[in-house]
């Protein structure tokens, strides 16, 4: 049973990493949002499996929040934003998919090396979970760096946050308060960013963040 629970946890965490890779090469908005919703579903599965294995019922709440907020509410909200901004037909140029994927693989390898070496004494369940979580975080960052569209950057940021939750639930005994506050902060961030998106759009007729740099008065 122990072996099985470990394997299943690894399967789910590994699935999360895989979906992060899928996020990297999506060049259409709706596709990106759908994959992100999948990301959140797998996260909530992983968290509920942890709740079951660790016998920690409060983690079910975390899983529910992840499912409700990130898999349903936020994708739907962003969906409507994309439609209203009228960018759902745009194809985003992601510079060099092959190169990005290679960099992503390097990041996963790096996080494995770092985590497996550093957490030698930790519980094996938490250990590899942490390695996967770090991979998800790094891939989220990589996505933020490579994308130019503000909506895709939000998605990158949220997938990064998913990695954080994965790391936190893998370690035993994360208080529910922390999780709820994290969830709220993400929600607030979403609202703020959403408002800003429309403001940016009003001003510059574009949500391409490069447009912001062009009008900055203090460029030398």
């Amino acid at each position: 049973m122990v072996q099985f629970s470990l394997d299943f946890a690894h399967l789910l965490a590994g699935g999360l990493v895989l979906i992060s890779f899928m996020l990297l090469y999506q060049d259409r908005m709706f596709g990106l949002l759908n994959v992100f919703a999948l990301h959140a579903v797998v996260l909530s599965l992983s968290v509920s499996w942890q709740a079951y294995v660790q016998d920690a019922p409060h983690l079910y709440i975390t899983a529910a929040i992840a499912l409700g907020l990130k898999a349903i509410l936020i994708p739907i909200a962003l969906h409507r934003v994309v439609v209203r901004l009228g960018i759902h037909r745009e194809i985003e140029t992601v510079g060099g998919i092959g190169l990005t994927m290679l960099a992503g693989m390097g990041l996963v390898a790096l996080s494995m090396v770092v985590m497996l070496r550093v957490t030698g004494a930790a519980d094996p369940l938490a250990r590899e979970d942490l390695a996967f979580a770090l991979s998800v975080i790094l891939l989220g960052l990589l996505m933020m760096v490579t994308r130019r569209n503000a909506v895709s950057q939000i998605i990158g940021f949220m997938s990064l946050e998913n990695g954080l939750i994965l790391a936190a639930t893998g370690a035993k005994g994360m208080p529910l308060v922390v999780e709820i506050s994290v969830a709220f902060s993400v929600l607030v961030a979403l609202i703020v960013i959403g408002v800003f998106l429309f403001r940016i759009r009003e001003r510059f007729d574009s949500v391409d963040i490069e447009a912001l740099d062009e009008v900055r008065g203090d460029r030398s």
Partner: protein
Amino acid sequence: MALHLAQWCILALAFVAIGAVVAPSSPRTIRTFYAACAAISIVVLALAARHLLTQAPAETSRLPIGLPWIGARLRIDAISAFFQLIVNFGGFAASLYAIGYGVDEESPKRVLPFYAIFLAGMNLVLIADDAFTFLASWEFMSLSSWALVVSRHRDRENVQAGYVYLLMAAFGTFALLLVFGLLAGADGHYGFSAMRSASHASGLAGAAMVLALVATGSKAGLAPLHVWLPLAHPAAPSHVSALMSGVMTKVAIYGFVRIVFDLLGQPAWWWGLVVLAIGGATATLGVLYAMFERDLKRMLAYSTVENVGVVFVGLGLALAFKTNGMGSAAALAFTAAVFHALNHSLFKSLLFFGAGAVLHGTGERDIEKLGGLIHTMPQTAFVFLGGCLAISALPPLNGFASEWLLFQGILLSPDVPQWGLKLAIPAIGALLALAAALAGACFVRAYGVAFLGRPRSECASGAHEVDLFSRGAMFLLLAACVLTGILPGLVIDAAAPVTIAAVGESMPRQVSQSWLNIVPIAASRSSYNGLLVMAFIAFTTIVAVRAIHKFASDRLRRAPAWDCGFPNADPATQYTAASFAQPIGRVFGETVFRTREKVDMPAPGALRPARLVLSMRDPIWDAIYARIHGAVDYVSGRLNVLQFLTIRLYLSLVFAVLIALLLAVSIWT
């Protein structure tokens, strides 16, 4: 008892500061507040004197303020008490002077609150007994004095001086923080008692000594960290200049004594060499700067640099002797150092008060525009002369007594076993002798140009004498200079417990010597009697004056023969300060300051005047500060690009740093 009352006095000073903020700024309230500062200083002074003279044991206490669970530890011992004596006598005199002088300040509320906090901070440094309290009160002292420096903030120069001062003070405190970090060790014992009893590894203790020298030297004005001193000291109002120059530098010296002599334990032999070399260089350089300075107050600040160098030579000598177990020689050198510190606080305060009086009477600090003040300000001229004599180390005044003791210590250097020290100490003695001679020339120049001759400008001829309180403060300090000069034995005996605390032994008891002699080691070697010298000088002077009057003056007639070559000439034909400094400038200036003289002669028949242009460079500024400035400028110019990146580039930078750190973790195990 003494410690308890000292705490209350510091609290009272804090209340004075608060009161000064809320009270209306009428001349009467300002006088009252300065009088309160004077009264508090005199109470602490009396306590400290009692502590020293009764040779009371050290007292400690712990206040429940400051860091949680640690509190503030306070302690008063002989070293603290002696420096309390210096600080509070200076504080008393400055407050007395300010009762008259401080009223005419254009915005007294910018000065008075910080003045009280400044006094409180200095007193608190002296009784602090743990690193945190020491650093906090040290910062109180620095910041309040900074506020005093920029109190006349409308003058651009003052703001700039304040900026340089703030930088140097921050640098010094940072070094001090590192010293305490090293001393506290891995367990973090921040109390001085724990540091004192711990045994420090030799390398660590050496590093702590060097850092302590840098930290306290930056506050006291050791070269090359002295650059802020001639800028900041003159910028403050004169009674504060006197406190900063005469007293705050002594608190810095106290910091050095406390850390190196008390906390670090047995010194290594090279410590003495380092301190001696820096002290000797500082003394010579300081007086050379002073020699060429036109601004009266700035010249006094440079002279402070010189005297701090002299004190550090004494301390270095004491370290050198202490390493080799030469107890009585170490006691002699240490006594000379603290005695000179006391003396310097007396005559430097006096001279700054005099400069303040001149500034008040004439509105002018440039000595080339003064002259003939002895007629308009006779009393100030008299006390200023006394201060000049004392600082030039002329017997029978106090400057001579302490420098004589110091040279007695230098004469003992052949007994030191290390060859480095054996060769270095006489060389530094020669530097010190040079500095003493140049200091004499420097003050002859200052006094001669400012007070003698004929007025060189309108403001000098319209000078007026200062008020009663200011003159009272100056006469008080002059009396103290004379008393410590003719009875140095009393001071040496009072410093005996300090010497025991610092180097383990003390000089022979002086009061029991016959005829009030002072005897450094043994009567057969050498001795000095200030009273006798004073009596001899007084006697010969009276005889000479009477003889001249009897045989010469009576037969003298005033007649305008050739009138020394310039009848009714312009005052500008007088010998100027620059002319006085020129020969010395030709000897030392070319190597030290790279002076260049350029004579600009008009063509024959042209009507314009000939000019002599003298250009000087500050070697330390060029060698160190200008380079640091250039490097910071270059680096910030390069990094400026970082302010104008795109959002994505910023994100990429963060990402790259994260990856680099992770790589470092994975490679480094």
